[in-house]
Structures are given as C-alpha cells and as structure tokens.
C-alpha cells in the first residue's frame, strides 16, 4: 500500500549522488579492540558503498548483539542495534514493510548460529532480500572468551577449560541446508576479495549469506592464520570462480575434483585438468556447493572462498507485496464500511 504519510516514499528518484568513503562513515568513535579484524571489514564496506549506486538514506544496517553487532553505529546510514540473535527477524519485518530499502544484517557466529540460529535459517529459507554478513571468529568476544557454535572440538576457553566437546557448525553447509539462494565466504585479510563478495551479495535479489572469517586478536588470535596469512594464501585458499576449473596453489598445481566420498583435492598433473571440477554457482541442486563447503574440515587445510552458490529464486518480501497488489487489483482498496458489514447483519 502506498503510504502517503511516509515521507520516505516520496524521495526524488533522480540520479544517486556521488559519494566517497567519508560520506558513509558516521561520526562515532569506533570501539573495537585495536587489531580486531572488524576494522578491515568496516573499511572494506565503507569503501565499497559509494560504488554500489545506492542512497545512504535507503540503506539500513541491522545487527544483533556481540562485537560485530556494533557495526551499524559506524555507518552513516540508518541503523538499528537490536537484541541478541534477532536481527534477521527485525530485518525481515523491515524488508516486508519497506521493500525499497537496501538492508544489511551484521552479526557474529554466536549471534547468528547460536541464539539466533532459528531466525537465520528461516530468513535464508524465505529468501528475504537481505545482505547477511556473519563475522565468524569462532569465539564469544563481547562476553570475553567462551567457545562458540563454530569453535573446534577440544577448544580450551573459560567455559571449556578441558576442551569444548560439541561438533561445530559449518556455516556454509548450514546455509545451504537452509535453502540459501546465495552463500559465500571471504576473510578479513583481503579487502579486495571482501569487496567483490559483498558486491555480489548486495546485487543478489534474495537472502545473501556471507561468512567472513574474522580474527579476534584478543580471545582467539590467529584462528585462520594458517589459511589467510598473505604468504600461505595461494596454497591454502581456493578462490571459487564461476565457470572456471577450481584450481589453487602458487602454480595452480592443485585442483578440486568430485569423488564418491565428496570433493577432494587432487594434483592437476596427475588427474588431468579435464577432471578438475568446474565451478558453477547456478546449479539448482546444492550438492556440489555442499561438497565444496565440506572440503576443509578445519581452518588449517585448503579452504574454498568466494561464492559457493548463487541461484535465482522468488524473493520473499516482493512475493508478499505481489499478493497484496493482486488482491487489491481484484477487489480494489478495502473499505472499512464494507468490512464491518461482511458478516450477516440486521437492522433494528
């Protein structure tokens, strides 16, 4: 329904003004620990926003609770810092009420996979037009160092002094299992890679899930160092490129192939390039993407990054709006007088 009272819908549709990073940075002092990976994610996004062709006033950052959830305070856009785990739910309501907005949902692994796991999977299943960035540092930071749902088995923390027992979530596997139409992974050590993945997430019509491997230098320092440090990246990060064979290594000497037991790492020279898996984000069956998500068991073996899956699927809030439009086209705008007389009536 056109909301005549809402001044926000009356915005000039002229060209989007040119902006720079500083236009997207709020005046608030950033209060993450010095050296936190969140800084580089913030920088990457603030630098990217001017390139996305969106208006600041149409951009909303919604977060839950945790270190990552402070993100909205630092963006000069609209923003709501909500409650623990519920940001996908709040964002879903906002997206349904206001399909004109560009909504980013920011949270950590505890926020999104533990207390808010239910909301995340349903937002993905419904395919609500949200850009969901989950900063995965495999630890609870804001509560000062308990194991998280992505912490490895055996992790020694304050709440697991002799080692965490439960098997961690694989965020990409979980997103794919939740019918995500877009699932990607990037990491805080590579601004360019983050920006390309964030851009793809933004351009995706539907729920875009991005796992950002993020270093918590206070409570879980170096969790991803074995794969993200500059000198090891070529051998340890497998950059997924749509339509291209999945190769990695300084000489692209390694590849990924599909074996009966799933995706496996092979030497290209031995197996032949023609037997290396060609990455296709758009296959509707998520099996290949799922196999890729299972390739690295722990963050010290070669790990795929990039877009695992990106398929077209009906977006939820526009489908909801379409139902309303269709009914209104059939019946016209509802009239309260008629509603009150829609049951049997009698006159006295």
């Amino acid at each position: 329904m056109t909301n005549l009272l809402n001044p926000a819908t009356a915005v000039d549709d002229g060209p989007v003004p040119e902006t720079t990073r500083s236009d997207w940075a709020s005046d608030q002092e950033v209060r993450w620990c010095p050296g936190c990976g969140d800084y580089s994610i913030l920088t990457a996004l603030q630098l990217l926003m001017p390139e996305l062709g969106v208006r600041r006033e149409k951009t909303v950052f919604i977060s839950g609770i945790g270190c990552a959830a402070r993100f909205p305070y630092y963006m000069n856009t609209y923003g709501v810092h909500t409650i623990h785990g519920r940001s996908p739910a709040v964002a879903t309501g906002l997206a349904m009420a206001r399909p004109d907005l560009d909504i980013w949902v920011i949270g950590g692994d505890g926020d999104m996979l533990s207390i808010g796991g239910n909301h995340l999977i349903h937002a993905l299943r419904r395919n609500v037009n949200l850009n969901i960035l989950m900063f995965n540092n495999q630890i609870y930071g804001l509560t000062k160092g308990q194991f998280s749902p992505t912490s490895e088995v055996g992790k020694v923390t304050k709440s697991s002094p002799v080692g965490a027992l439960a098997r961690p979530f694989n965020p990409i596997s979980m997103a794919l299992g939740a019918e995500a139409s877009f699932a990607a992974r990037t990491h805080d050590m590579d601004r360019h890679h983050m920006q390309e993945v964030f851009r793809r997430a933004h351009d995706h019509d539907g729920a875009a899930f991005v796992e950002v491997l993020q270093n918590c230098n206070v409570f879980n320092d170096g969790a991803f160092a074995a794969i993200t440090k500059k000198d090891v990246r070529k051998d340890m990060l497998i950059d997924l490129q749509h339509g291209k064979p999945i190769l990695f290594g300084s000489e692209e000497q390694y590849g990924v192939a599909l074996a009966p037991e799933g995706a496996v790492i092979v030497e290209v020279a031995k197996l032949g390039l023609e037997n290396v898996m060609v990455h296709d984000e758009t296959i509707r069956n998520p099996s290949n993407a799922f196999a890729l998500s299972r390739l690295a068991k722990t963050p010290d073996t070669p790990t795929p990054v990039g877009v695992f899956r990106s398929i077209e699927r009906d977006e939820f809030s526009s489908s909801v709006a379409a139902q309303i439009d269709e009914i209104q086209a059939q019946l016209g705008q509802g009239k309260l007088e008629n509603l009150l007389r829609s049951q049997p009536i009698w006159e006295v």
């Binding site: 001044p7 926000a8 915005v11 000069n76 409650i83 239910n118 349903h122 139902q323 509802g334 006159e347």
Partner: protein, 643 residues
Amino acid sequence: MTEIGGASSAPALELDEVIIRFAGDSGDGMQLTGDRFTNASAMFGNDLATLPEYPAEIRAPAGTMAGVSAFQVHISDHDITTPGDAPDVLVAMNPAALKSDLSTLVQGGTLIVNKDTFEERNLAKAGYESNPLDGEDLSGYRVIEVAMTTLTKEACAELGVKPRDADRSKNFFALGLLSWMYSRPIEPTIDWIDSKFAGKDMVIAANKAAFSAGHAYGETAELGAQRVVVKAAPLLKGTYTNINGNTALSWGLVAASQLSGLPLFLGSYPITPASDILHELSKHKAFGVTTFQAEDEIAAIGSAVGASYGGSIGVTTTSGPGVALKGEAMGLAVSLELPLIVVDVQRGGPSTGLPTKTEAADLMMAMYGRHGECPMPIVAPRTPADCFDTAIEAARIALVHQTPVMLLSDGYLANGSEPWRLPDVADLPNIDVEFATAFNMVNEDGEESFWPYLRDENLNRPIALPGTPGLMHRIGGIEKDDGTGNVSYDPENHERMVRLRHERVASIPIPDAVLEDGSTGNADLLMVGWGSTWGAITGACRRVRSTGGEVDHVHLTHLNPLPANLGDLLRSYRRVLVPELNLGQLVRILRAEYLVDARPLSKVKGQPFTAGEIQFAIIADINEFSGSPNEPTSTTTKKGVAV
C-alpha cells in the same frame, strides 16, 4: 427434501430469556451448531452472549469425557451481559457430554439427548455402569430422547448419502430441532449451508435434509415440550452484526490503519486462542494488511518492531506463553520508543496450562514482566465487541505516544460473541502521526544535524523513517544519550532516561474512571473490574440492585496508566471488591498505588465468572458488613466462589 417452516399449531410459550448448552463429542460439530443457533438468534434480534468451551486436543478419543466440546448461548428479549449462569436446556449428543455437563443444567431443566449414542460402548467410555436414560438419575429434569442418528440417516438415505456421511449431519438435526423449539428463523441457517458448502452438493443436501428433519421432528413429534419464543430485544436503532472478540479486535486493527494512514503489519506465531486474529487479518490484503507467520514468537515481535521502524503499525498477537518469549523485544521497543501493539489473548497458565480455557492472570506480566524499568501502557477490552474500540485505542496510544502497548484480551472474549451495533466509520477519530523530515539541531560547528532523541513537549522523540534524506541515524537497545541518541553509559543520563521512559507512559492522558450504569455513587461497596469480568459483574450488580441491595461498579479499560481520579474514587467507598480471573493481581496494584483496603474475589477454573458467583459474593459482603439478612436469590451459586 422435506419442506420446512410453517407455524406450529400449539401456541408458543413466551420467555424473556433462555440459556442453551450444546454438548457433544469434538467430532460432533457442537461449536458449529452453537454458532449457527447464535447467528439465527442474532438475526432474529435477540440480545445474546456466548461461551464456547472446547478441549485443547483436536480429536480426543471419540466418546470420552476428554473429548467433550460445548457451546453455551444465552438469548434474551432484554439487555444481557453474560452467557448465563446455568443452562435451561442441555443438548447432549452422547453419554460423555451428558456426564460432563449435566451438573451445569438447572434443576427441572430440559435435557435433549441423542439416544442412539447411549449404547454399551459409549456408556463405558463415559464411565456409566448402566444407561442413565433407564434409571432415576434424570428424574429431576425434563428428558427428551431423540434418535438423532437414526432419523438423520433416514432423512439422508433418499438422497443417496452414505450412512457414514449422513452421520456427520446429525448436528444439523439437533440444530433443526432446537430451531423449531425456540422459534428461530431458518433462513440464516439454510443460507449459511448453501454458502459454506458451495460446490459440495451432496453435503449441502445432507445438511439441509438433517436440519429439515430435526425441524419437522419438533413440529410433529409429541415432545412434551412447548415451543418457546424469546422476543427480540429492544436494542438501539442501528445496523448490527454478531461478532466475537478476535474478529472485532482484528477489525479494530484494520480500522486503526485506515484512521492513521499507516499500513498494518502483523507478525504472529500460531497459538491458541490468538490464532484467529492471524487468520482474520490474513484475509484483508485489500486493506494493505501484511501478515507474517513467523518462525517463532520472538521473530513475530521482532518483525513487528522492524515494520514499525519502517513506518507501519507493527502488531504481534499471541497468548501468555508467547508474551513470556517476547519480553526482551518489548524492552527493545520501549528503548527505541517505537509504536508497537502486543496483543495477549490470555489463557490458563502457567506453562502450557489450559490452552483453550480463559484466565486473566497476565496482568502482572504485562505490568512488570520485562527486565529493567520497562513500562508499557496496558489496555483491556471488556466485551467481545469492545475489542474493536480497544484495538483502536491501543493503536492510538502506540502511535501518538510512540510506545509499545499491551492489549490484554482473553479466551472468553476471543471466542465469545455478542450483537454489535456497527459504528459509523465517519465518526471514528483520526489518529494523527507525524514523522520527522528535517534537521532539528545545529551542532557546535554550525552544521545542521538530526538528533533522534531530542524530545518535544510531550516527551516524544522525532521518528525519522529510513529513506528520509539527510536524517540518517543509529538507534539501539543500548542506553542512549538523551538528545543525540548516541550510546551513553553516563550514570546521570541513564537515570534521566529511565525516569523519562517512566514519565512518558505515566503522563499519557486517559479518560477518568466513570461509574458504570446503575451505580449511584452512594453505595458502601465498589466493585472494581477489568477485562472480560465486566459482563458478570454488571449482571451481578443488576441482580443485587433488583432486590434492593446497593453496589457500585467501576470497570477499567486502562490499566497503565490508571485513571487519574481512581485513587479518590476508591477512597470514597467503605469497601472495595475486585473480582479477577487470577489470585488477585489488579487488587495488588490498587493496594500498592492507593493504599486502599481493596479485597480480591478470585476464580481460576479456566472459566469466566458467572453473574451468580459475583452476586453471591456481593450479597455476602453486604450481609457481613450490614448484619442484615439479604440472601442470594439465584439458584446458581452451586459452583461456589473462592473468595
């Protein structure tokens, strides 16, 4: 098909009111039967009130006591306020229904049974060792035994309906019989069958045949019961519809959307007895209503907060267990100072409690059930139709005062129905809402800016909707600086913000409490009620007054803030009695707020008060304090009252 209608030969007995209770197995369609009887009565012009009572199980084992579903309807030729204390007529479709509900029937009342079901298996399931129709147990009642199943099957046989399918129509036989006995118009039921089962010709034919057969049976059989007429009630001139609380509440929310010009957004998770609001609003897309069946109660309110933030009227509907889950998000809405409506259709608790039964024990949760100092306005409708006005009032407070509001309905209001004189839509006052569109501050450096917590004289903050150019800002659940809205841990600021949030709710202007009709202002005893107890308290007060007793009644729609004159009003009475469907929640608030010796009158049986129960308590109170004998006159005090 048998022709139905036509005048009966015998003259009808005129009564001023009748209470009928339909009881049967969950699969027998008793709710539908009661509902149809009610609608026919409404169309006829009676005043009425209903009490549907059904088990939480969808299909408890057939024929058992656990599976009994009942619908009580009170029809009259005068203004009534309750579904009646004790039925004059009980329709028992099987032995379990008889066993479970016979105790409610008045002595000498009429008992209509489907005698086909009184066979060994069903009797055993109900725990009868011998057939009660054969013994002396029912000698105190006028028993009418009808072979409803057999007669229905016979009526349907000529249509080619299979006996098993015909069996499903026996409730229409009962409805036809009762429609004859109580001179109900038949057209509303026939029309309803046609539209309800459109496209299913065989079902239409079977139901009509059963209905006609029941009606004809009444006309031709020697029932030993005279046909009864309850004349139309002298209602105010106007257009009426029969409405239940959940529907009225839904329409009130739609009306609030129209009156404010803001789209309505409902985030809800199915829960008894609130789900019908979700169902009803889902039908009204033509009004731009967006409904969202969320993954859980928390997502339901979370989505409503998000929609409110985007400029809609965010609403979430639930029952007590759901409210418990929504507490943190309500706190967020209080902190964000955003409009939000939380509808709690109360049911028996704690925990799963009595999902399909009524109770009003969530008042303390509504007042105090969130962490921190977290005040929310609370409103409570008093009758099913009043849910319409109260929903608009909740929206008005939420939108004008930028706050989440709790609306406390209950299972009795939700499912009970009454005739409602339709308001003139043009008379409904608009709800004026303004959003911020301009900067409201000049910073030290001379630059214009927007402070999202810079308050106006009503302590409202400016709400700038996302999409508004230039007014980008960040808000959240962390304590905010009074003014800039930036994160603040300053102790002085926090205390100021806590007090401001308190003051924002405490200073909401609401109407003074007014004594209910019939109150003189001279009684020693004041009855103070809230919510659905209005009908029973009103009925009780009328009875007491009719026998010369004096009692006054005030009924609160606004429970937070309370009416400004309430303290003085309470203190002007010698005694204050507060009937509640809980162990005494409002009474504690009144005692705490006003230091008055208000006393509780409690009932927590999953059922509403009867007027008789409250009448008994009033008379007992008057007698205790006056010493003069003034016995209750009603025969309906047998259920007892916990004082």
